[in-house]
């Protein structure tokens, strides 16, 4: 029972990733694309934690931590570039 | 005295994060405590954020209250966004307004701006000295005092006690 509900949650998160990718395709300005990238990052962290829990390997959560740190830097770099160039 | 307080706070913070990452294992806890001590000694002149924290019983009580109020506002804001997004007519009246804050400390302003971003319908766009420019999804008043009271006041009361 619990397994099935968690699987459904994983599918919904994957759908959310695909929907925010559509905004990245459409986005009229670069800032829209950067917002879509930010959202995709957060959803991917959730997906990584989901995969880690499914396969019961605790080391996968370290990947999620590294991922959160690095992609935060990436979004900040894009924002800085839009503002005035690095 | 100030340096001692700052160092102890940094050490407790670092050790707490290390403990969360590793769990109850004697060897790792010992190694972590040594490494945390080294980092504290090297970096305690740069971590000025911890200096502004007040450590009285009243401020501890207020920080717990603040966390509770913040979580309630976060959940409320999500239902607010949900109702706006799910509505087919998309009921928004957005715009950028200006509010004034009484807080002096930098870290207090940072936490206030973050809290504003996560509460219903508001997003901090720019900060200049004592003024915050806020993108508000549903503008109801024009006056700067009214907007300050509606957006900022409920957090400011607590943050004023915690950070000063």
């Amino acid at each position: 029972m619990a397994e099935i509900i968690i699987n459904i949650a994983g599918y919904i998160a994957l759908l959310a990733l695909a929907l925010s990718f559509i905004r990245m395709i459409l986005g009229p300005t670069t800032a829209d694309r950067a917002v879509a990238l930010d959202t995709m990052t957060i959803i991917s962290i959730s997906l990584i934690a989901f995969i880690a829990s499914k396969s019961m390997r605790i080391i996968y959560l370290d990947v999620a931590t590294v991922y959160a740190l690095i992609s935060f830097l990436g979004v900040i770099a894009v924002a800085r570039y839009i503002e005035r160039g690095i | 005295m100030k340096i001692l307080k700052r160092s102890i706070l940094i050490y407790i913070f670092l050790f707490f994060v290390w403990f969360l990452l590793t769990g109850f294992k004697a060897q790792e806890l010992i190694a972590g405590s040594v490494v945390c001590l080294i980092i504290t000694v090297i970096y305690n002149s740069k971590a000025l954020a911890f200096e502004e924290l007040r450590l009285t019983p009243k401020s501890l009580l207020y920080s717990i209250l603040y966390a509770v109020i913040f979580l309630v506002e976060l959940i409320k804001s999500n239902f607010d966004v949900a109702s706006r997004v799910a509505n087919p007519k998309l009921p928004i009246h957005p715009g950028i307004v200006k509010v004034r804050t009484k807080l002096k400390s930098k870290i207090g302003k940072l936490i206030l701006a973050n809290s504003i971003t996560l509460t219903p319908g508001t997003l901090t766009v720019e900060t200049r000295d004592e003024f915050f420019y806020i993108h508000w999804i549903n503008i109801s008043t024009d006056n700067i005092d009214d907007t300050s009271r509606q957006i900022v006041a409920r957090f400011e009361r607590y943050l004023e006690v915690i950070f000063g």
Binding site: F21, M40, I70, V78 | -
Partner: protein, 85 residues
């Protein structure tokens, strides 16, 4: 379950690669190549290679984006100087 994940992530990756190649705006191309390595690291993780996934996340999504942005801003600066002369 896992197969569906890999298929959908792969489709998104291909679309992002097409955007990166076809787009006229260089910043868009950089952002979409960041998306590609972001999703590639999830696929590495599904194929049970956490070390590769960590490296891909650090280098592909973080460092390459920053290096590309730095290079782009330098190119713009040089172009401006040439135009001024």
């Amino acid at each position: 379950m896992i197969t569906v994940f890999i298929i959908i992530l792969g489709i998104i990756m291909i679309l992002a690669a097409i955007i990166a190649v076809m787009s006229k705006n260089l910043l868009t191309a950089i952002i979409s190549s960041g998306v590609i390595s972001l999703l590639a690291s999830i696929i590495y993780l599904i194929l049970s290679a956490p070390d590769v996934a960590m490296t891909e996340a650090a280098i592909g999504s973080g460092l390459t984006t920053i290096v590309f942005l730095y290079a782009l801003s330098r190119i713009k600066k040089i172009n401006k100087e040439i135009d001024d002369d």
